[in-house]
């Protein structure tokens, strides 16, 4: 009997946001991130028979997604290569502000910071997965998507005071969880 089993009916509810955040931090494009997670779910469906049950469902989906992200970069790699050739236009005898032009870009300098943010993002999603469905939905809509209180109340058919109670409980749990995992 395998340790883990697949339940594709719950994939979107359980993992779509986590996979989306994982992808967007690596490809920096919302549309591409959406396409990649859709492809990941489709590929997961096709290769369900290959799942051995040794890893968790989420780990298995992440491993598929990682390959999709690599494929995506392979596809655009030829174009990127051309861009790099066009960028290295400065010859040694060229005058001007060469130091500024050759200085490391901000993205490179912030690589460590960006990795830390990615890890923090993962910790936040891990903590969110421990909230009840309702708490997670309200927390996500209010805190991450920045929806207005009224919009959430209408969407979920709850009162404003109900929303604040749910949010308060979610925030306490999130703070405690992050205290253990991150702070």
């Amino acid at each position: 009997m395998p340790d883990h089993q697949l339940n594709p009916n719950k994939w979107i509810d359980l993992y779509s946001d986590y996979l989306f955040n994982y992808t967007i931090t690596r490809v920096n494009d919302r549309e591409i991130a959406k396409d990649l997670i859709q492809e990941t779910f489709f590929a997961g469906l096709k290769s369900m028979k290959n799942f051995k049950g040794e890893a968790s469902e989420r780990t298995w989906l992440i491993s598929i997604l990682k390959r999709k992200i690599i494929d995506y970069y392979r596809k655009i790699n030829s174009n990127k290569g051309k861009a790099e050739v066009r960028m290295s236009y400065i010859s040694d005898d060229q005058e001007g502000d060469w130091l500024e032009e050759r200085v490391e870009d901000e993205g490179y300098l912030n690589a460590e910071e960006s990795m830390e943010n990615t890890e923090l993002g993962d910790a936040i999603y891990n903590c969110m997965s421990k909230l009840s469905d309702k708490q997670a939905t309200v927390f996500k809509m209010k805190t991450i998507l920045g929806y207005e209180t009224e919009t959430i109340c209408n969407e979920l058919d709850i009162t404003a005071s109900n929303l604040w109670v749910i949010l308060h409980r979610a925030r306490i749990q999130m703070a405690e969880c992050l205290e253990k995992k991150w702070f």
Binding site: I12, S16, I24, K34, L45, G121, M174, L178
Partner: protein, 90 residues
């Protein structure tokens, strides 16, 4: 005597109310008056101080992590396409 109690209620709030105002203030939804009342309690109540500190830390962590998630409409589109694929498989 009644006047004193009225003034007290007017200025002082319970811990629960302070937590609620603190939550609202994380989303920019607390009024100036509510913030004043929260600050007054913050001065002397260690429970409020602890809660405010934790709450601010959480808000800051989420802000710097730049976490993102799918919009409701994007999620619905994904569910629709996935369900089609799921039916084709079955």
């Amino acid at each position: 005597m009644e006047d004193d109690s009225m003034k007290k209620n007017f200025l002082f709030i319970s811990c629960e109310e302070a937590f609620h105002i603190c939550d609202k203030s994380q989303y920019g939804e607390a009024t100036l008056w509510e913030k004043i009342k929260l600050n007054l309690r913050f001065i002397w109540c260690r429970f409020t101080q602890a809660y405010v500190k934790k709450n601010r830390k959480l808000t800051k962590a989420i802000k710097i992590s730049k976490v993102e998630c799918l919009q409701q409409t994007e999620r619905e589109q994904l569910i629709e396409r996935f369900n089609q694929q799921l039916q084709n498989k079955m």
